[in-house]
């Protein structure tokens, strides 16, 4: 169990070690209990980031499946694997996130899709939403973004 330890005596106060925002995030991490088991597909070409998103979801008991490219995501869905949530990065190897989203929607999948990217322009947002994601999130993805979505899915 992690404990809070004050920094050394010399630490200046302006460092603001006790931060309300971080405390709030920690509360979000621990307080939510989901009634239903959920499975999420994480589509991201960058392994470190994929594992991090899976780590973010694990404390809520959300099962995850990660794939590193859009083609595998489309194949899985075409094969009939069902997901409660799909988290998809915009820039992917081979097929980009927008094309993958369109293809997934064309198959007839209507589960919640979350488009994630570092590019924050309004055009980027509109393009991703037009491709079929329900929510567009500018990275980094964190509990503040995820918790309301998980709650909403849990109550459906």
């Amino acid at each position: 169990m992690a404990t809070t330890l004050p920094s050394s005596d010399q630490a200046p106060d302006q460092d603001n070690w006790d931060n309300e925002g971080l405390e709030h995030k920690r509360q979000l991490l621990t307080e939510i209990v989901l009634r239903n088991t959920m499975i999420t597909l994480v589509v991201d070409g960058i392994m470190t980031r994929r594992v991090l998103v899976q780590g973010l979801l694990r404390p809520y008991g959300v099962q995850t499946l990660g794939v590193d490219n859009g083609r595998d995501a489309v194949d899985l869905i075409a094969f009939g694997v069902k997901f409660d949530l799909i988290i998809i990065e915009k820039i992917l190897p081979a097929l980009n996130g927008l094309d993958v989203t369109r293809q997934i929607r064309e198959i007839g999948v209507c589960c919640k899709m979350l488009g994630v990217t570092t590019c924050s322009g309004e055009n980027e947002r509109q393009a991703f939403l037009a491709a079929g994601v329900d929510v567009f999130i500018e990275k980094p993805l964190d509990p503040e973004h995820l918790v309301p979505i998980l709650r909403e899915l849990d109550w459906q």
């Binding site: 920094s7 931060n19 925002g21 971080l22 991490l29 594992v51 780590g55 404390p59």
Partner: protein
Amino acid sequence: MEVGQMQRRLVDYTKSLFMEGFLDAQFLQLQQLQDESNPDFVVEVVSLFFDDSEKLLNDLTMALDQPNVDFKKVDAHVHQLKGSSSSIGAQRVKNACIAFRSFCEEQNIDATLRCLQQVKQEYYLVKNKLETMLRLEQQIVAAGGSIPMIELGF
């Protein structure tokens, strides 16, 4: 060294990594995901980052060593490295990648070669720092102590 002393040393060392810009708030988020049910999460993700980065740095070195450099390919590798470094909060590597990408767009071979050296330097620096930090954590746990939670205001 007694546990309390090691814990304070770890806090000070970690704090210096934030002050010197090696790490940013994203690393704190990564630490918060580690708990009793997932005690090695940080080590796992950081190891993935090392593996990923070293592969990408090799790919980049080879791609920039070609007689006709494919800048699209170079940019794709740098994009990957930027994503990987920002996901663990390796801020200086991420920033070096941002500069690198702008020179890819210009197709400036000399500048991209300089950027590659810069990114390599930043990567090996942060790798060394993270390894030292994780070693300190292991020593604390081995001595029966707990890892102190680091909190910073951003």
